[in-house]
């Protein structure tokens, strides 16, 4: 029998509907793969095997009668940031020790409504703060990829590194992820997977642990563009419980995948041609554009003049919102408590023990930029710059651009415990240089694997779309995926 874990989500769905195999068989195959791989990859922080089999059996009952939702019986991994009722939900932080919510996030509720099966909770950077999935309390996620001829461990990117590693190493058919500055797209690019951050407001944030509320969006990571589209359709939708959720019909994203790019205008922003960018990234970018042009798209050189200010503005806005959102972790209502001589002592000791270094650093920066006397100079200034960044994109779209093509990351994956990056927080932040603008402007962005570097590591391209036009991104990403026509799966060493 073929290895069921190697099927795309779309093919698994066909096999289930055709009764070639059952969800119980498919789910068991994934649970076996997780058991074998997780000691090496550390992608899952909790495996919900019994619950998975129970959900799979329920799906099999429906499938046997020719019923079931669009994801009936499909086993998924869930980022530890999503509240899952009665199941480990800790944002990979020590401060949420033992937290098992009494409620389910809207995004995961939507997936279960459509029949999906939960395999477990996926590792990530603590509170989604990081670009390497090394800041987790549960230890770093290890990428399933290694450079040719090397046995050194690489990072899968972050913060959704567990999601990306699990999807690429066949430990789930697809995964949920979240993206505040690039946390879906950068790990997808590092692991040869497809990741989309939809337009702000497309997915409900209700029940997702908050990092920076004006930037956070959920989205899927999957092995193909079509799989990502299938997941996106299920995850999206209006939710009255999130005041920024947009009341708009959700298209059938999968129906847009084969639409092609004929007649589309693709913008190439000159500011994304960074000094010192590796030649292979430049080549990849050109190659992607050539593929789109060969299939009928036209090119337009554009300028997004405030691009270089997106990352510095982000490192004011995101920590400011994080310092406010993370004020709730005080040892009173849930999670870790460290006793002290009085209540303030208890707060301080709990937060000192419960948060990791990167989280503390960002809370401190956020506290500083919001403090009396500095608020206007930092936070208000950054929000004004954000208005300008958004206007750059609006000008491009008003000038007839349908989507913008850029590299997804400035390099391929780097090593775990990289000393230069550990010594300089800003160097790590530069990983998000091509992705963070999209969050600042609330736009949709997709990362799609397009090539490999000289060491055989995956490289991705990013497409940025108009608000609520994820369909064009799926269509254009599919053209790149089809033309790349490359095997982006890792060579198992684990």
């Amino acid at each position: 029998m073929t290895d069921l874990t190697k099927l795309s989500l779309a093919d698994a769905r066909k096999g289930l509907v055709d009764k070639s195999f059952t969800s119980t068989e498919l789910t068991s195959a994934y649970l076996g793969a997780i058991e074998a791989a997780n000691p090496s990859l550390n992608a899952y922080v909790a495996v919900t095997a019994d619950q998975a089999i129970e959900m799979a059996k329920a799906s099999d009952g429906k499938l046997a009668k020719g019923q079931g939702g669009s994801l009936e019986g499909i086993p998924l991994g869930i980022k530890d940031l999503f509240a899952t009722k009665g199941v480990h939900t800790q944002a990979a932080s020590h401060i949420l020790d033992g937290f098992k919510p009494e409620y389910e996030s809207t995004v995961t509720s939507n997936l279960w409504r459509d029949g999906a099966v939960m395999l477990g909770k996926l590792n990530m950077d603590e509170f989604a703060m990081g670009s390497s999935s090394e800041t987790s309390y549960y230890g770093p996620v290890v990428s399933p990829f290694r450079a040719e001829g090397s046995n050194a461990n690489l990072v899968p990117g972050g913060s959704s590194g567990g999601s990306a590693a699990a999807v690429s190493a066949w430990l789930c058919a697809g995964a949920t992820a979240t993206d505040t500055g690039g946390s879906i797209r950068q790990p997808a690019a590092f692991t040869g997977t497809v990741g989309i951050k939809p337009t702000y407001g497309r997915c409900s944030r209700w029940g997702t642990v908050a990092f920076a509320s004006s930037l956070d969006q959920a989205g899927p990571i999957a092995r193909t563009v079509e799989d990502a589209a299938l997941l996106m359709t299920s995850m999206s939708g209006f939710d009255p419980k999130d005041s920024t959720s947009v009341d708009m019909a959700v298209p059938d994203f999968a129906a847009a995948v084969e639409r092609g790019v004929k007649g589309l205008t693709i913008g190439i922003p000159r500011e994304y041609r960074m000094e010192g960018m590796p030649a292979e990234i430049e080549t990849l970018w050109k190659q992607g554009l050539d593929w789109l042009v060969a299939e009928g798209a036209t090119v337009k050189d554009i300028s997004l003049p405030h691009t270089k200010y997106a990352l510095p503005a982000y490192y004011i806005v995101a920590p400011a919102e994080a310092s406010s959102n993370l004020a709730r972790y005080d040892g009173v209502k849930y999670g870790l408590r460290v006793s002290g001589k009085d209540i303030t002592d208890m707060y301080e000791l709990t937060r000192a023990a419960g948060f990791g270094r990167e989280v503390k650093r960002r809370i401190m920066i956020g506290t500083y930029v919001l403090s009396a006397g500095y608020f206007d100079a930092y936070y208000v200034k950054a929000q004004k710059v954000r208005t300008l960044i958004k206007k750059d994109f609006e000008d491009a779209f008003n000038a007839g651009v349908d989507a913008i093509l850029t590299p997804a990351t400035p390099s391929a994956a780097f090593g775990i415990g990289d000393e230069a990056l550990a010594a300089d927080p800003v160097a790590m932040y530069l990983n998000d240089i091509f992705t963070v603008t999209v969050n600042m402007a609330g736009l949709p962005g997709i990362a799609v694997p397009a090539g490999k570097d000289g060491q055989g590591l995956p490289l991705g391209l990013q497409l940025i779309g108009k608000p609520f036009d994820e369909e064009t991104l799926f269509a254009a990403a599919r053209v790149i995926e089809r033309n790349a026509d490359m095997d982006f799966s890792p060579k198992p060493w684990w």
Binding site: E102, Y309, G331, G340, K360, M364, Y368, A377, K384
Partner: protein, 95 residues
């Protein structure tokens, strides 16, 4: 702008995070690296620019002023490190 050791201590206090004396210098270095990086925003001309308050143009929805949820105190305290009779228990705060 850069922060000194006293400011680092004050921020830690405001954020309710205990930091030890021997940690101050490294936090100070890291915070100053980040503040140095964001300093480049000073060169952007933002005259007449409105600060962003909502990334998608929308007005906040209103709903009827009705009780739509509640009545599950035991669920709310179910994850508390310490609770009694559906109340959170904390060290004494009023003398």
């Amino acid at each position: 702008m850069s922060v000194d050791a006293a400011t680092v201590k004050r921020m830690a206090r405001l954020a309710r995070i205990r930091i030890e004396e021997d940690e101050i210098a490294s936090y100070q270095g890291e915070l100053n690296a980040i503040l140095g990086f964001v300093e480049q925003l000073q060169e952007v001309n933002v005259e007449g620019v409105e600060p962003m308050t909502s990334v998608t143009p929308m007005t906040l929805r209103r709903r009827d002023d009705l009780i739509t949820d509640g009545g599950f105190a035991e669920k709310i305290v179910s994850n508390a490190p310490l609770s009694e009779d559906n109340f959170f228990m904390v060290p004494k705060v009023v003398e």
